[in-house]
C-alpha cells in the first residue's frame, strides 16, 4: 500500500519510475533521443498482436564512432604501440552517461576529423620508421618503388583489419592510386604510408557502420552481415577490433547461429582484453574510473574495487552478486587506515575481513561511495539517485521548474535558518508534496549511508560543508544513518543496504540492463524489451554467472540484428 502511495506521488511529480532517460541527461540535447521508434507501429506489427519482429526485440542502431579507448586499442591491434595516451586524447573526450560509448552523445565532428588526420599520420610514420616492424607490416618484399602486386596484397590484408571486413575489388582499385605517391617519391613505402593513413581516416574505420541485409523472417529488421556481427562482438567484449580468427569465422559464415556466436564469444572471453572490458564496464557503470580524490587515494580505491571484480568474476567465476556479498576487501596499509580496518604489513596489499564494521561488498568501497559528493560533503539525494539509477535502473527526472516551490534552488542542498543538521534540512524535501514524490525515492536511501563520507571513511558527525548555513555552527547531533528503500525496507549502512538489494529482483535485472546499454551504445527502448527480458531470464537461470549473462546477450538472435530505417 505504501509503495502505491509513493508511486502515485511520484507520478504527480513527474517521477515515472520507469527506465526512461533523465530529461536533464544525455537524451536531453538536440541529438537523437531514446525511445524513438524509427517506424510507426513498430516492426512486424499485426492487428492480431505482436508479430515475429516484435517478439525478436531487435533495436535501433546507428553509426558508432570509436571511443578514445576503442580507437587506442584498434590502432594497437593494427600497428602496435605507436600512439600514447596523450596522442589519443586529441580525439574529443567521450561523454560518460555513465558509459563512454553512447552514440547519441557523439556530436563532435570537427575535432574528430582533424585529430584522426594527425593521428593517422603519426601512427603510420612511427609504424614505418623501424625497418623490421615495417617489413612485418607490409608482409611482402617490394620489387622496386612501383611494385603494384606487393602494394595490393598489403591493401587487401591491412584493409580487412582496418575496415573489419574484406575490401571489394573496386575499393582495392581506388586505393591502388596510392602507387602514384610511391613513384613520385621513388619509395614504395610512400604508397604504404598513404594507404595506412587513408584507411585510418576512413569513415568505416572511425565509425562502425551497420548496413545489414533485410531479414526475410522479420519484416522491418535487418540482419547484420557476418563481419558486422564480428565487430559488435569485438568492441563489446574487447573494446577492440576483431582479430584474424574472428574475421576468418565471419568470412566462413560461422557467426550465423546462436551456437556459433556463443562459441566465438567463449573464446573471446578467455582473452585478457575481455577481462579488461569487464573491469571497465563496472568502473563506468559505478563511476569510479575517474575519482575526485587525491591521486594517491584514488589509485588505491580503484585497485581495491578492481581486485574484487577480478576475484569474483574473473579468477573464481563466482555469482556476480558476490560482488555485493564479499566479507573482505583488498587494501594496503594506507587504505586500511582510511577505512579503520586491520592493516596489512607496510608495502603489501591483502584481503582483510570486514568483521563487524558494518561494511560488506562493493557498496562499502570508497570508489563507489564517492558518488554523490557535493558541496564538500555527501548529498543523500544524489546518493539515493545513484542507487535508483545505477542499481535499479530507475531514473529520477530533474524537477519541472514550473512546479518548484518558491525559493528552492535545484543545484543546491537545502539549508535551514535554525539548524545545520542534514536530516532536518532535507526534511524540506518531503514536506512539499510535489517534491516528496521523487525525493522519497532518493533521500531515505542516501541517509542510510550518511555514516560514510565521500571517500568511504566512517564518520559519526557531519562536517560543516559549503552547503551549510554559514551563520550556524556545525550539526552537533551524531549521524543516525537510518535509511530506507521505499516499499522494500529499512537499513543502516552499506551492509544492510546490500541485504535489501539481494532480497529483491531489481538489482540483477538492472545489471543486465546496464550491460545491454554498454553493448549497444544506447539506452533500451520499448521495442527492445523482449530481447532484454530473455537476457535477464538467462542471467537468473545461470545462477548469476556474469559470463553467462554476456553469452546470453551476444548469442540472442536480436544481437545480430537492427531495425531498418
Amino acid at each position: 500500500m505504501r509503495l502505491l502511495i509513493l508511486m502515485a506521488l511520484c507520478v504527480a511529480a513527474g517521477c515515472s519510475g520507469s527506465a526512461q532517460p533523465d530529461p536533464d541527461g544525455a537524451g536531453s540535447g538536440p541529438g537523437p533521443s531514446d525511445g524513438q521508434s524509427p517506424s510507426t507501429g513498430g516492426p512486424g506489427t499485426s492487428p492480431d498482436g505482436p508479430g515475429p519482429s516484435q517478439e525478436l526485440g531487435a533495436g535501433r542502431s546507428g553509426p558508432r564512432r570509436l571511443t578514445q579507448r576503442e580507437y587506442a586499442n584498434t590502432i594497437r591491434a593494427l600497428l602496435g604501440d605507436v600512439l600514447t595516451e596523450a596522442d589519443v586524447q586529441e580525439l574529443p573526450a567521450d561523454a560518460t552517461t555513465p558509459f563512454d560509448n553512447d552514440f547519441s552523445t557523439q556530436e563532435q565532428w570537427q575535432q574528430v576529423v582533424l585529430a584522426a588526420e594527425r593521428l593517422a599520420e603519426r601512427a603510420s610514420e612511427r609504424a614505418l620508421a623501424d625497418p623490421q616492424r615495417r617489413s612485418q607490416l607490409v608482409g611482402c618484399t617490394p620489387q622496386g618503388a612501383a611494385d603494384a602486386e606487393c602494394l595490393r596484397a598489403f591493401i587487401q590484408r591491412f584493409g580487412r583489419q582496418a575496415l573489419r571486413r574484406p575490401l571489394s575489388a573496386s575499393e582495392l582499385d581506388t586505393l591502388d592510386d596510392a602507387l602514384q605517391a610511391a613513384s613520385e617519391a621513388n619509395d614504395f613505402h610512400a604508397a604504404v604510408d598513404v594507404v595506412i593513413r587513408a584507411l585510418l581516416q576512413d569513415t568505416e574505420f572511425l565509425y562502425r557502420v551497420e548496413r545489414g541485409t533485410p531479414d526475410p523472417e522479420h519484416p522491418g529488421v535487418l540482419r547484420l552481415t557476418d563481419f558486422e556481427v564480428a565487430s559488435r562482438l569485438a568492441y563489446f567484449l574487447w573494446q577492440a577490433p576483431p582479430d584474424e580468427a574472428l574475421l576468418d569465422q565471419a568470412a566462413a559464415g560461422k557467426l550465423r547461429t546462436p551456437e556459433q556466436v556463443r562459441a566465438a564469444a567463449q573464446r573471446m572471453l578467455s582473452d585478457p582484453r575481455a577481462a579488461e572490458a569487464i573491469q571497465r564496464f563496472h568502473a563506468l557503470w559505478l563511476s569510479y574510473e575517474v575519482l575526485p580524490q587525491s591521486a594517491e587515494l584514488a589509485s588505491r580505491l580503484r585497485t581495491e574495487t578492481r581486485a574484487l571484480v577480478q576475484r569474483v568474476l574473473l579468477d573464481e567465476q563466482r555469482p556476480w552478486l558476490d560482488l555485493f556479498r564479499s566479507n573482505e576487501t583488498y587494501v594496503d596499509a594506507l587504505l586500511a587506515e582510511h577505512y579503520g580496518l586491520a592493516s596489512p604489513p607496510a608495502g603489501t596489499s591483502k584481503w582483510v575481513p570486514y568483521g563487524t564494521s558494518g561494511r560488506r561488498g562493493i557498496l562499502s568501497h570508497g570508489a563507489v561511495l564517492s558518488n554523490g559528493a557535493h558541496y564538500g560533503d555527501t548529498s543523500p539525494t544524489l546518493r539515493g539517485k545513484f542507487v535508483q539509477s545505477r542499481l535499479f535502473c530507475t531514473d529520477i527526472p530533474k524537477p519541472d521548474p514550473a512546479t518548484l516551490p518558491p525559493g528552492v534552488v535545484l543545484d543546491k542542498p537545502p539549508t535551514s535558518s535554525t539548524t545545520n543538521c542534514k536530516v532536518e534540512r532535507y526534511a524540506a524535501h518531503s514536506e512539499v508534496g510535489l517534491c516528496a514524490g521523487c525525493h522519497q525515492l532518493m533521500d531515505p536511501i542516501g541517509f542510510g549511508l550518511e555514516n560514510y563520507d565521500g571517500s568511504g571513511r566512517f564518520r559519526t558527525m557531519e562536517p560543516k560543508s559549503a552547503g551549510s548555513n554559514s551563520d550556524l555552527p556545525a550539526c552537533q547531533t551524531p549521524i543516525a544513518g537510518n535509511g530506507e528503500i521505499p516499499g522494500v525496507g529499512t537499513f543502516h549502512g552499506p551492509s544492510e543496504l546490500t541485504e535489501l538489494l539481494l532480497g529483491g529482483e531489481r538489482l540483477d535485472a538492472c545489471a543486465a540492463t546496464q550491460l545491454y546499454r554498454f553493448a549497444m551504445g544506447r539506452r533500451e527502448a520499448g521495442q527492445d524489451r523482449p530481447y532484454l527480458d530473455r537476457v535477464i531470464a538467462a542471467f537468473r537461470g545461470s545462477g548469476h554467472r556474469f559470463d553467462e549473462l554476456i553469452l546470453a546477450l551476444v548469442s540472442d538472435p536480436a544481437f545480430s540484428r537492427r531495425l531498418a530505417q
Binding site: A95, V113, L114, Q201, A402
Partner: protein, 476 residues
C-alpha cells in the same frame, strides 16, 4: 570582400594531369604574398568569448558589489571592482602611454534575456524551464526555447557566413568533469544545415589539434621543403578518403546518412583548407611552436596554462588572416572545473554561485576569466594591422557570461544566479566606429543587441538575430 581563393583542383586540371611538384606549390604561395601587398584586404574581425558562470552567489549581494561599475552610464574611466580588477593590471597597460586595458573595453550592464516561470510559454527571445539547459539558447541565438534545443544559428556562424570564412572555435576546459550531461554544455556555436535543421559546431579542445589546424595551413609564413612535402602527402591521402566517404553515403539508411553527413562535411572542410591558399598573412603572422599539452585531470586540467595558449592562438589566427571569426569558450556551461587551483577555494565553479557567502569568490572566478580576456585584448591592441591601425582597431570583441543575477524563473527568487536578469557583456574593438572604454547601462536590452552591434561593426549587415533586432547605439 571575400578572401582570395585558389583551388588546388583547378590547378591540377590546368596542369593537364601532370603531377604538381614542389615548384608549383611554391609559386602558389608567392602569388598569395603578391596579393597581400596590394593591401586589398578587409581585415575586420569578430571574436566572441564565453565564460560558463553567472555574476553572483545565490541570496548574496550580487554583482553591484563585485562587478558593475559605480560610474554612471556613458562615463569612461569606470571603477574596477573585484571581477573587473584585471582590466587595471599594469601588465596589460599599453606600451608607450601606459593606459590601462580598460580603456579598450566597454562594460555593458543591465542586459536581460526574458524568461518565464510557472510553466508559461517562453517569451520571444527568451526561455523557461531549467536555467543551465535553456538560458544559453536565446543568449547566443536570439531564439526562444523551452526544451533544451538550440533553435537558430549563433552569432559567430551568421557572421562567418556573411564574411565568407569559416569560424574558428576553441574551448579551454577540455572535459566536463563530473557532469554526465556535458555534451550540450560543451559548445556555444550552432549553424543551420541546408535542410534547415540546426546543428552544433564543436569547438576544438585540444591544443595540438588547434595549433596544427592553424599552422599547417598552406601558405602561412615561409614553408620549408619538408613542410611542403608534408602538405602534398596529406592531400594525396585525402584524395583517397573523400570519394570513399561519398560512396558510403549512398549505401546507408536515412538516419545513418544524416549522422555521417556531418563527418563528411568536416573531411571536405579539411580538404578545402589544405587545398586553398588563404589571403596574405599580416606582418605579425608567425608560426607559434606547438605547446606541450597540459595533463587532463579529474577536476582540473591546467586551464590556467591552456587559457593563455588559446588566447595566443586566437590572436595569431587573426594575424595570419586564417579566419575573420573566432569563438573562445573558456569554461563549460554550468562549469564543474575545480576553483581550487585558480582562486584557492576548495569547490567547483558552479558550486561557488550557490553559496551565499561566496559573492567575492564568484567575482574572483569571473576575474580569472577576465584576466585572460584582458591579456587577449591587450595583445590585439599591441599588434599593428594595416593602415597604421592596430588589429583591435579593426575588430569587435564580445565577452558573454552564462548568466546574470536577479529573478530566476526556476524558483521565483530575486537574488539568484540561475537568472538572465542583470547580465553584463564586455565589448572591445573599434571596428565600425565602436567606442570602447566606457560603462554603458543598457536598460534591459538583450545581450543579442550587443552581438548585433558587434556584428554590424565588422560589416555583417544584419538587423536581426533570431527574435532580437537592433543595435545598442551607445556602443558607437
Amino acid at each position: 570582400m571575400k578572401s582570395f581563393k585558389l583551388s588546388r583542383r583547378t590547378v591540377l586540371r590546368g596542369a593537364a594531369g601532370a603531377a604538381v611538384g614542389l615548384p608549383m606549390l611554391e609559386a602558389m604561395i608567392g602569388s598569395r604574398d603578391a596579393l597581400a601587398a596590394t593591401g586589398s584586404l578587409s581585415p575586420t574581425r569578430f571574436l566572441l568569448c564565453f565564460g560558463g558562470q553567472s555574476l553572483g552567489a545565490g541570496d548574496g549581494a550580487g554583482p553591484t558589489a563585485t562587478y558593475i561599475p559605480n560610474a554612471p552610464h556613458g562615463s569612461s574611466n569606470y571603477d574596477l571592482k573585484v571581477a573587473l580588477a584585471p582590466f587595471g593590471l599594469a601588465e596589460f597597460n599599453k606600451p608607450g602611454d601606459g593606459s590601462p586595458v580598460k580603456s579598450e573595453i566597454t562594460v555593458v550592464s543591465g542586459l536581460r534575456v526574458p524568461a518565464t516561470g510557472g510553466g508559461a510559454a517562453p517569451p520571444p527571445a527568451g526561455w523557461n524551464g531549467l536555467f543551465h539547459t535553456n538560458a544559453h539558447v536565446p543568449l547566443l541565438s536570439g531564439m526562444r526555447t523551452s526544451n533544451n534545443a538550440m533553435k537558430g544559428p549563433t552569432a559567430d556562424q551568421v557572421a562567418a557566413e556573411a564574411l565568407g570564412c569559416s569560424a574558428f572555435g576553441y574551448r579551454v576546459q577540455p572535459r566536463s568533469y563530473r557532469d554526465p550531461d556535458g555534451t550540450h554544455k560543451s559548445r556555444i556555436s550552432y549553424r543551420r544545415l541546408a535542410n534547415g535543421s540546426i546543428t552544433p559546431v564543436d569547438p576544438i579542445a585540444n591544443l595540438q589539434v588547434a595549433y596544427d589546424k592553424l599552422f599547417s595551413l598552406p601558405g602561412l609564413g615561409s614553408a620549408s621543403p619538408e613542410e611542403l612535402a608534408r602538405l602534398k602527402r596529406r592531400r594525396s591521402v585525402l584524395d583517397l578518403v573523400l570519394p570513399r566517404a561519398n560512396q558510403l553515403l549512398g549505401q546507408v539508411g536515412a538516419a545513418d546518412r544524416e549522422r555521417l553527413e556531418r563527418h563528411f562535411e568536416e573531411i571536405r572542410n579539411l580538404e578545402r583548407a589544405l587545398a586553398e591558399q588563404t589571403t596574405g598573412a599580416g606582418a605579425a603572422c608567425k608560426k607559434l611552436p606547438t605547446p606541450r599539452e597540459p595533463a587532463i585531470g579529474a577536476v582540473y586540467s591546467e586551464e590556467e596554462a591552456r587559457a593563455r595558449l588559446y588566447c595566443d592562438l586566437v590572436h595569431m589566427g587573426f594575424a595570419c588572416n586564417a579566419t575573420r571569426v573566432s569563438t573562445l569558450m573558456f569554461t563549460f556551461l554550468q562549469c564543474f572545473m575545480s576553483a581550487s587551483p585558480l582562486i584557492g577555494v576548495n569547490t567547483d565553479v558552479h558550486e561557488l554561485s550557490h553559496n551565499p557567502s561566496n559573492d567575492i569568490n564568484v567575482a574572483k572566478m569571473i576575474a580569472w576569466h577576465l584576466k585572460h580576456f584582458a591579456y587577449l585584448v591587450a595583445k590585439l591592441r599591441d599588434t599593428p594591422d594595416v593602415g597604421g591601425k592596430s588589429m583591435l582597431d579593426n575588430m569587435a570583441v564580445v565577452f558573454l557570461h552564462e548568466g546574470g543575477f536577479g529573478y530566476s524563473p526556476e524558483n521565483g527568487g530575486t537574488r539568484e544566479p540561475h537568472s538572465t536578469e542583470g547580465m553584463t557583456a564586455l565589448v572591445a574593438g573599434r571596428a565600425g566606429g565602436l567606442r570602447p572604454g566606457r560603462h554603458v547601462v543598457a536598460g534591459g536590452k538583450h545581450p543579442v543587441n550587443v552581438l548585433l552591434s558587434a556584428m554590424n561593426a565588422v560589416g555583417v549587415n544584419v538587423n536581426q538575430l533570431g527574435e532580437v533586432s537592433g543595435v545598442i547605439p551607445e556602443l558607437f
